[in-house]
Symmetry: C2
Subunit: 155 residues, 2 copies
């Protein structure tokens, strides 16, 4: 068996391991770049952007527990971010009718405008960071990523 | 212009944004599953596994600063993990000849054996989690991920 033949017969488990390391490196690299740009250009953070994005999709407001479920971050972190957004006038807390202890968080008009600006920059940055992929590449990549679903979603 | 036609002419920036969200969701889902399995089956963590993996590639040892550069985590976190590995007999710190203040961290034989067991499980989990991708899929996905490089690497 020649060395080349050995390469060709790499076990699938090794191929999948190398693929995972590449996937992780790619998403970490792009996420790091987004964090850096949010910090440098808007003095803000990716988790704060994510909270604003979630709130912008639910104009009637979200409970803290719903927000942390959507974002898969801890309730404590979400509460701290909403506190800061509220202090900045970008969010407000409103009482839930019929439930004295529950509160909903909502973006204010100023928060919606600030989010619109951030979202526009975020989309433009990704357009630049992923410019190596054309529409056909993007369709194939999207579809291949979809083929990894099912194993962890079934639980 | 019909709704279908509008979908077909989605701007590339929107396509790339959707692709990024899919990529992030995929890597977060798989990473979350790996964290859960490391915790449930080995009572360990992904950062600890990453530190052991880096040390296993450098049998002569690594400085803390080299370790945190390799892993892109803070020096403080790396130091804490190496402290715990040392307490467990999985790593040791050795003096650097000619530099009284520097220390290298190395895996012990017990640490190498423990890492080998974790690495085998990690590879088997990924083989299962990525089983929806065959060798041809993996090659295409690897190559498309490579096409995203260059924008952030050039800086």
């Amino acid at each position: 068996m020649t060395p080349q033949r050995e390469t060709l017969t790499e076990p699938m488990s090794k191929t999948r391991l190398r693929l995972w390391l590449k996937l992780l490196k790619t998403s970490s690299r792009i996420e790091g770049e987004l964090r850096r740009r949010f910090r440098d250009k808007f003095a803000t953070t990716l988790p704060r952007f994510d909270v604003m994005a979630a709130l912008s999709r639910f104009p009637d407001g979200l409970k803290m527990s719903e927000l942390s479920d959507l974002l898969r971050v801890s309730n404590g972190n979400v509460t701290g971010i909403v506190d800061r957004l509220t202090n900045d006038g970008h969010a407000l807390r409103v009482a839930v009718p019929g439930d004295r202890r529950a509160q909903l968080a909502r973006l204010t008009a100023a928060g919606q405008a600030a989010f619109a600006e951030l979202a526009q920059a975020h989309e433009a940055w990704l357009d630049e960071l992923l410019q190596g992929l054309d529409a056909a590449d993007a369709a194939v990549l999207h579809s291949l990523l979809g083929k990894t679903e099912g194993e962890t979603d079934a639980q």
